[in-house]
Structures are given as C-alpha cells and as structure tokens.
C-alpha cells in the first residue's frame, strides 16, 4: 500500500533536504524548529492490463454511447492528442497515447471508417519533431498516417484550417482547428498529469488559435485563478468551460478520453529523487554523490542531454471516456487521489527547487522566463484552498538561471527578455504595450509555422502564468542564480540558502516559518 503524502517538521536530526537546482541538485540544511517539508505521496499501484482497460473504457464510457456505436462507415473521424508537453518527463514507450490511439483505430477499422486524421494539439506550442511524434503515437501509427499527410500538427496561424464557431456571453471568441470542428466525431486523447489538464481545455485551448486563446491567457484571468489546479476557483477553467458550451452548441461532437498517471517519475539510477532523504540507502547516497559530482563537472550541454533522455516509468492509474465534463470530473478525483497532500496553514517562506524540465523546454533549454513560470506559475499554483505561502510572504527558488535560450525553440523569448523585461515586469503593462506586436510578428509566425518555434506571444503567456504568484508574494529570491538574469526577472539573487533566508527576514521577520515543497514528483498541497 503506497504511503500518502507527508509533512515533516524539521528538527536537528533531520538530514539535509534535497533541492533541485536545474541540471543538478543541492542539499540544504533548513532551520530546525520552524521548517516543514512537504513530501509527495508514493506512486499509486498501476493498472497492469492497460490494453484491456483501454478497450473496456471505450466501450463503457461515461454519459455517452460506446465508441463503437458512434462510428459508422463514411464518417469523418479526427483523433487529437496532447503534444510533447505531456507527460513530464516523457514516459517510457509505449506511450499511453499510442495505446489509446491504436485501440480507437481498431474500433474505427471494425466500423469501416476510412476518413481518419490525427492532429497533435499544439495550441501555440512548438511543432513536434518526427522522433517526438513517433514516441507519442508509436511507429505503427506514424508510418501509417504521416506519409499520407493524415498525421498533422495543429497550426494556430493557418486561416484556411481554422473555423470560427461563435462567441461566449462574455465576448470570448472560439476559433479551433477546422478539421476537428467539421468532423463527425472528434476523439481527444489526454494524459492528465495535473488537475488543470483535460476537460474543455483540451479542445478549447489545444486546438485553438491566438484569437481564441487571448481571452483566457491574460493577466486578469491568471490573477483571478486561485489556483489553476482547483477548477472551482479557476477563472481559466471557467473561461474554457464557457467556450466548451459554445463548441457543444455549434455541434462539435467530442468523445473525450482522459487518463491519469501515478507519480513514479524517476527511473534507475535516479530513483533516490523520489525518496525521502532519511530513507536513502547506501546505494542511493552513493548515486547521489556520483550524480551530483559528475553533473557539476560535465558541460551543461551534456548534463542537459542526460536529464532530457530520462524516460519516466509513469504508469496509468485510471482511464475514463465519454462526455467531456463528466469525464473530467472523474479524472480530477483520480489526479487528486495521487497528488493531494494535506497541509495545515500557510507559511511565511516557501522554498522550492526548480528542476531541469517544465512543459515548455522538453529537449530544450530552461531559460530564465521558464524558471519563473515553473516556480511561480506551476509550483506556486499546485495548491487547493489557500496558497502555501501567505500573502506578502517570500518564495525562495533554487536554479542556476543562466542567461541562455534555445534560439530555435524560443526565439521570441530572447526578444521578450531583452526588450520587454528590460522595460517592465508588470504583466498588465507588458500585455498592453507589447503583446499584440509579438503575437502578430511575421517572423515569429513564420518560425512557429515552419520551424520548431513557440509562437511569438508564448513568452507573454509564460509571464502571465506566474502573475498570480508575483502579485501574491512580497519577494522572490533565486539561490545560485546568475545575478544578471535574476535581476532582469525582477527577483533577488542569493548565493546560498542562508543568505536567501537572511534576505527574506527583511520582509517576513527573523522567526518566519519555512515550508519546502519537495517536488518533483508532482504533488498538490491541500492547504487548510
């Protein structure tokens, strides 16, 4: 029986705590008596007969007819699937998307459906490479569909392949992929790593254009979402649900497939990253020393390569299909079952180690903007109820934060960092002053459509993603970060954890309480 999450009160006998530090780690001794560490629950048992469960779920959906009953000869079937940003790290082959898509295709073949197309739901993310697509959908599906042009990637800037479907009562326009909108059935294959994934967000965001996305990817929506992971208090969620209603009214028929994974994140030899420090065996300690020392010695490029090659032993814990909202309700419960950790009360200082990866730098560089987004956008928002840190509190992150970008994947990030952040870090001002120009820049558009670049507006969205955290916290300190880039983000650099706590005491006093959020593996704090 896996153990649930755990909140440790640090005392003098507590061993140093592991912090992620980009492409490396650090062990920090946190002050005894006023510090607690939140550990994620252990991985839930996996489903072993995955293929049988997938097929069973397709035939026993929630609030919908079985998939086989929705398929008929001569119909137009579109299968959309999540892109490279899910799951993190990428899962071992066979990827769940492949297994589900093959099961759907088997049903389609049995029903005599000939017109089938597959679409990677990228939204404004970068296009996936052939290898990434093969990893996600498998060689069989790739070889059968890609050469005939039937496996495509959503292009949010292709006016000929977008369909405008209407407006919500709040004035939000809905424009999604034309093929998906005009199909007799759209099957959406999700991997729900966190509670925010899935639901109407799959179609209304994953297959949408900038015209549509700008209505909820903006500072006002983000700052009003407390948090993204709590659908009852998320403006982002509400906006997507309003759009979903328009999609349904417009006649877009969706068969939603959602899956949850356990948090078995790190394979051998990195298993110690998922363990509690006092339970590290001699082998774990040896591996930690070997890994941290050697990673510090090798060039950053090599360290990055080692980490990006990790394939997580994630396993499926549930699958549910059918009507979007009903399915998502069950999925959310299953995500919570794995990830929720009950925490009593807020803290003055929240510490977090920023790892090498976030949804937007798979096989790429974790640039300073993504460091901010991971810390204040993702980790800060992994709560239900109240934020872990009190209003006006301090967030301390550990990451080297190099002034480094991947020019192929993140071209507009470079200009955003150099031009926009040099001017202001206020998301509202950035939105009003710069967003439109970046969103409609022809060069960024060209790179997004033909290369492997994120959309021109994407760095803005990353910045907005952290706007609730920025608004909520009094100070953000980055330990071990490159001072130049940390200051550009509007944060305070510190050379060590002790220094950071000293700096934080100016804002929250000398006896401030500290909470360390020991993630990844991913978890969610249920703050009472």
């Amino acid at each position: 029986m896996p153990r649930p999450g755990f909140v440790l009160d640090v005392d003098r006998s507590t061993p140093p705590t592991l912090f992620w530090h980009g492409d490396g780690f650090r062990l920090e001794r946190l002050p005894a008596g006023r510090t607690r560490v939140i550990y994620p629950p252990e991985p839930l048992p996996a489903i072993t007969d995955v293929d049988a469960r997938i097929r069973n779920a397709l035939e026993h959906p929630i609030d919908s007819d079985p998939l086989s009953a929705l398929l008929f000869p001569g119909m137009k079937l579109t299968i959309a699937f999540d892109d490279v940003s899910l799951p993190l790290p990428k899962m071992r082959r066979p990827d769940l998307r492949q297994r589900i898509i093959e099961a759907v295709l088997d049903s389609a073949a049995d029903a005599g459906v000939d017109d089938v197309a597959l679409i990677a739901a990228l939204a404004l993310h970068r296009r996936m490479t052939e290898d990434e697509l093969r990893h996600a959908v498998g060689d069989r599906v790739y070889d059968a569909f890609a050469p005939r042009g039937l496996l495509t990637q959503h292009d949010a800037e292709d006016p000929e392949n977008l369909a405008y479907l209407g407006t919500t009562p709040h004035g939000e326009e809905i424009e999604i992929n034309k093929r998906a909108a005009e199909s007799d059935l759209l099957v959406y294959v999700n991997i729900n790593l966190v509670a925010m994934d899935g639901g109407w967000k799959s179609t209304a965001t994953g297959l949408a254009s900038y015209r549509s996305l700008r209505h909820h990817h903006n500072p006002a929506t983000m700052q009003a979402s407390h948090s993204f992971m709590d659908q009852h208090r998320s403006e982002l969620h509400k906006s997507n649900w309003r759009m979903g209603k328009v999609l349904r009214d417009a006649g877009v028929k969706i068969f939603q497939i959602e899956t949850t994974l356990n948090n078995d994140t790190f394979p051998s030899p990195f298993e110690f990253l998922g363990k509690r420090e006092w339970e590290w065996s001699a082998r774990d300690r040896g591996l930690y020393v070997a890994a941290s020392k050697s990673l510090a010695k090798v060039p950053t490029r090599t360290a990055r390569k080692i980490f990006q090659s990790i394939e997580a032993p994630h396993q499926m814990t549930s699958i549910q299909c059918g009507e979007v909202e009903a399915v998502h309700k069950v999925t959310t419960e299953n995500v919570y079952r794995q990830q929720l950790v009950e925490v009593q009360g807020q803290t003055d200082i929240l510490t977090m180690g920023i790892p090498y990866i976030c949804p937007y730098n798979v096989h790429s560089v974790m640039n300073p903007i993504l460091v901010m987004c991971t810390g204040l956008g993702y980790f800060f928002n992994l709560y239900r109820g109240k934020p872990l840190v009190r209003e006006g509190g301090v967030v301390i992150m550990t990451h080297p934060t190099p002034w480094e970008f991947n020019p192929v994947h993140h071209p507009s990030y470079i200009d955003f960092f150099e031009e926009c952040l040099a001017d202001t870090t206020d998301p509202h001002v950035l939105s009003q002053k710069y967003e439109e120009r970046y969103a409609n820049d022809e060069w960024y558009r060209h790179l997004y459509r033909t290369g492997y670049a994120y959309h021109g507006v994407h760095p803005f969205y990353m910045w907005y993603w952290g706007s609730h955290g920025m608004q909520h916290c009094g100070k953000v300190i980055v330990v071990g970060g490159e001072p130049r880039s940390v200051r550009r983000l509007g944060f305070t650099p510190a050379s060590s954890m002790d220094d950071a706590l000293e700096i934080a005491s100016d804002a929250v006093g000398r006896d401030a309480t500290i909470t360390h959020f020991h993630t990844p593996p991913v978890m969610m704090a249920d703050v009472r």
């Binding site: 996996a46 007969d49 995955v50 295709l105 049995d110 000939d114 069989r140 059968a144 396993q315």
Partner: protein, 344 residues
C-alpha cells in the same frame, strides 16, 4: 635451421613421424588383442543363437532427453552464446528489424508485478532454419532468457550429436511432427507451467515453396492446457536467406513483427482459437509489407491476404511469390557480390 618455403621436409622429421604413426597402430592393435583375450564383461557379449535381443531404448528423436539443457550450467552457457556469437551471426546474416515489442508491455508489467516471467507461447510462421535463432535474438527480455523451442524430433534430434547441439544452443526440445505424441505435448505444457516460454512454428515444418502452410492446432491446445497467452509473430525475409532447399545462406534483411497477445476467450474452442491465431499472424504479415492502418482495415473487411498464397499452382504461384517478396524485407536484400568467371 628453419625450413625455407618450397624446400622439401628434412628426411629426419619424416622418419620420426612415420615411426610415431607405426607405433601408435601397433599399440592399439595390442590393446584390441588384450581386450579380445579377456572377453566379457570387458567387451560386448555375444548373442546366443535363437535369441532375439530387444532393441535398445531409443534415445533420439522424440525420446531425446533435454532436461540437462535447462540446468544452470547449460543455461549460463546458452546465455553467453545468445548474447555474443548468436546475436552477431544473426545480425550479420539476417539484419533483423524488430517491431511491435511494445505490444508486450502489459505482459511485461504483469511479469514485473508478479515477479514471474509470465510465460507465453510465441507463435510464428516458418520459412527457414534461421527462424529459430532469429526469434531467440528478437524476443525481448525477460522471455529471451527463459525460452524453449519446439523443434522437429526427426530432424534436429535425429542423432545424439545434433540433438545435444540443438538442446544446448537453442534450448530445443523434440516435437514429433509425424504423429500425435503425448510426450511432446505434456513436456511442453510442463515447461510452460515451470515458467518457460515457448517458440512454436505451427506450420509443422518449413515452407516448401516460400508461401506459408496452414497452422496446426498445437499452440492453441497448449494455451488452453496452460492458460499461457499466445504472442503471434510474423517473420519476413528468412525464406530468401535460407529457404528450404538452399544449401548456403545468402545475406539479406528480415523483419520480425510481434503482435498483441491473445488469450482463449470464454466459450471459445481450440479450433476457433487456432484460426484466430493464424489470422493474427496473417494481419501481422500484411502489416509488415504495408502499414498498420491499412492492414487493420483489410482485417476488419476480411480482406487480409492469406499466408498460404494464391490458390493456383505451378509457375504462377512462384511468380506471385516473387512479387510478394519484393514488397517485403526480402525485396530490400543486400546486393550479393557478383563473381564472374575467370578468363585466365
């Protein structure tokens, strides 16, 4: 002084060799004489007249004992053979492309979960003697190291030497293909129950003309007896490398396609299950020369090409085979080095 090339052997060396041979001959003759003089029990008994000696129990063919080949020492030897020489030889001769092992993910998870090897029966089409080593090289762990192979008793276990070599190198056990042999079936079932996975070629022998043959029911019978899942496998290309009747292998390319594991369904009889297994291998064969989606659609329409080829006989059948092979891996055969007659 060293002998120069082309120089005759020195006389003394020749004399020494001749003397050694002669004394060895004399020695052996002396031993024979002594044994002959001593007689029984140091030599074979003579048979009284009018008495018929019962034939010695047969130790070859289906009665060949292979139990020793599954002991730890033999296993370790085989593991070393599989990891080194066999893999290299298969790669050099057949250059296999192995696809579809991801379809075994659930079985692997089950094996991890139960700390067992989760024995299964790999069922493949059969064109060549190369199929067995190819399968052993292609089957992924954990099954590869707990694998036994059903081999024709009359061919592989015809003599003690070939039997021992087959048992040691391939972990083969004899299967009588000429008659229904209870011993073969029981041994196979027992091995599966002991955690050994099995490779079976249910066509009962290599293809005589390059096309497949109808499957026999052994695999389905064993699955029913043991509850082990059947993994359909299609091998493409070995017929062109070392088909029946070929004396030497010709290097080429092969493709091994693993299918989704099959289990006997509730209320399904063995004959029906056998048909389903054959159909699964046929779909894999179609997939190997086209693509997954096309093969799947043809299967749903009942239009999957048969493994046994077209119904007509004679040259048209051979002609169709050429076309069929050209679409598969055999069509990508490495160019053979051409040797021209020497003119001088």
């Amino acid at each position: 002084m060293a002998r120069r090339p082309g120089e005759p052997f020195p006389l003394t060396a020749m004399r020494v060799t001749a003397r050694a041979v002669s004394s060895a001959q004399k020695g052996s003759a002396r031993v024979r004489t002594v044994i002959g003089r001593v007689g029984f029990p140091y030599r074979a008994p003579t048979v009284p007249r009018g008495v018929e000696v019962p034939p010695a129990p047969k130790r070859t063919g289906a009665d060949f004992d292979t139990e020793w080949a599954r002991r730890p020492l033999a296993q370790a030897t085989r593991r070393a053979l599989l990891a080194g020489p066999l893999q290299l030889a298969v790669k050099a001769i057949a250059d296999p492309e192995v696809v579809g092992t991801d379809r075994l993910a659930d079985l692997r998870a089950e094996a991890d979960d139960t700390d067992d090897t989760c024995p299964c029966i790999f069922v493949a089409n059969h064109h060549s003697h190369l199929d067995t080593p190819l399968m052993l090289a292609a089957i992924p762990p954990p099954w590869r190291h707990r694998m036994v192979v059903g081999a024709a008793a009359d061919y592989f276990f015809g003599t003690r030497l070939t039997g021992a070599a087959s048992a040691l190198a391939l972990n083969a056990f004899p299967i009588d293909r000429t008659s229904v042999n209870r011993r073969s079936a029981e041994l196979a079932a027992e091995l599966i129950r002991d955690g050994w996975s099995l490779v079976i070629f249910p066509e009962g022998g290599r293809s005589p003309d390059g096309w497949g043959q109808p499957f026999k029911g052994g695999a389905a019978f064993l699955a029913e007896r043991t509850g082990a899942p059947i993994v359909p496998v299609h091998i493409d290309g070995t017929g062109a490398i070392l088909g029946k009747g070929m004396k030497r292998p010709k290097r080429g390319r092969t493709k091994v396609t693993f299918g989704r594991p099959l289990r006997l369904e509730e209320g399904e009889n063995i004959r029906r299950f056998g048909t389903r297994i054959e159909a699964a291998v046929e779909v894999l064969a179609d997939e190997a020369i086209s693509d997954y989606w096309s093969a799947r659609r043809r299967a749903a329409q009942g239009a999957t090409p048969s493994l046994t080829g077209p119904d007509y006989r004679g040259w048209r059948r051979a002609w169709a085979l050429t076309e069929h092979r050209a679409r598969g891996k055999a069509g990508q055969r490495r160019r053979q080095k051409r040797t021209w007659p020497k003119l001088s």
